[in-house]
């Protein structure tokens, strides 16, 4: 049997009544909560709080001092480190490396090394000695030597500028590569 419209209305009324009943009882709890007793804080608590604040501020002051000291040490170390970084590359590329390389004797030594290498190559591997690769390597080597000689001439005039020295090193690098390639052929 389908519930009639009247039954439905009664269900609604019953729900409302139950809700009101719950609310009524809830109100009783809320009333009691509002009437819960309150407590007075003992006077001794403030004295302890004051002592703690004083101690904390002392600790904070010391902590701040330590923090400032630590920051100063870090800044000092960082500035020293940066200073070292700025100076080191100059020494490495201009003075230390170039002092080791004797610029004046460089071209003479190189040409005698290449002569020895050529003789050895041609006696051990005559076919390679006549190949295009070898001829190209020899001509490049000679060009490098000529360029170095040219730079040396200018270096004497302009008192060894940094860029010229760097160029010398680059050419020297390339020459070494060619020498190594020739040695590799001999092996």
């Amino acid at each position: 049997m389908k519930p009639s419209k009247l039954d439905h209305i009664w269900n609604q009324i019953e729900e409302d009544l139950l809700f009101q009943y719950d609310e009524y009882h809830r109100d009783a709890l809320q009333m009691a909560i509002q009437n819960l007793p309150t407590y007075l804080a003992p006077d001794s608590v403030w004295t302890n709080i004051e002592k703690n604040i004083d101690n904390k501020s002392l600790v904070v002051r010391w902590k701040n001092l330590l923090l400032v000291a630590a920051i100063l040490v870090m800044l000092l170390s960082a500035s020293l480190w940066f200073q070292q970084l700025m100076v080191e590359p100059k020494v490495l590329y201009t003075k230390a490396n170039l002092n080791e390389v004797s610029l004046t004797n460089l071209t003479d030594t190189s040409s005698s090394i290449f002569k020895e290498l050529k003789e050895a190559t041609c006696s051990i591997k005559p076919s390679y000695c006549l190949s295009d690769d070898f001829i190209q390597a020899e001509s490049e080597y000679n060009e490098l030597l000529a360029m170095q000689e040219d730079i040396l001439k200018h270096a004497n005039v302009y008192d060894n500028g940094d860029q010229m020295e760097m160029m010398m090193l680059k050419l020297e690098d390339r020459k070494k590569t060619i020498e190594q390639e020739l040695i590799a052929q001999l092996n």
Partner: protein, 175 residues
């Protein structure tokens, strides 16, 4: 008169470590906060410790107070956290199964604040904390769960069980 300072003036004074204004602020909120501590920690000494640690924390961190809530609400959260921390040391909260079907609890209309207070004092600490935070202090289940480090479901269960226990306590006290 010192009592007439606004909360903002008190905060500014406390930020400058003005001892007089710190005392005014303390006097303004001490009893309300001690009452909360006493409800969470019925033991007098522990309640005093919570109040003390709470206000030390208040004065220490007042520089971070941005007036996003009322001063009282901000202090209350700090003090409650201290009280809960102390309570945790003695009785850790027990995770209960979530209770989905909760029957309505009917309170006697003659229930008095004094009787309820006695019953609250006799509740186990875990139940007492949840009941006080939700029903007395008006925090939501979500806020309570966050403060106690439990799930919302556990908070609801604890509240239901605490009410049941309270009723039993009240019935015993009445008899």
């Amino acid at each position: 008169m010192l009592i007439n300072y606004t909360d903002i003036e008190l905060v500014e004074g406390c930020k400058e470590n003005n001892r007089n204004l710190q005392k005014v602020l303390y006097d303004r909120y001490k009893d309300a906060m001690f009452t909360i501590c006493k409800r969470i920690l019925p033991d007098d000494d522990l309640a005093c410790d919570a109040l003390q640690e709470g206000f030390v924390e208040v004065f220490r961190s007042i520089k971070s107070f941005r007036l996003e809530s009322t001063l009282g609400a901000w202090i209350k959260v700090i003090v409650i956290r201290k009280a809960l921390h102390l309570a945790k040391r003695y009785t850790p909260i027990v995770e209960l199964e979530e209770h989905h079907e909760q029957e309505a609890i009917h309170w006697d209309s003659s229930l008095t604040g004094k009787a309820l207070n006695r019953a609250i004092e006799n509740l186990p600490t875990g139940y007492r904390k949840v009941f006080v935070l939700i029903e007395v202090e008006g925090y939501s289940h979500r806020e309570t769960a966050a403060m106690l480090g439990i799930s919302e479901g556990t908070s609801k269960s604890q509240l239901y069980h605490s009410k049941r226990l309270l009723q039993q306590q009240l019935a015993t006290l009445k008899n």
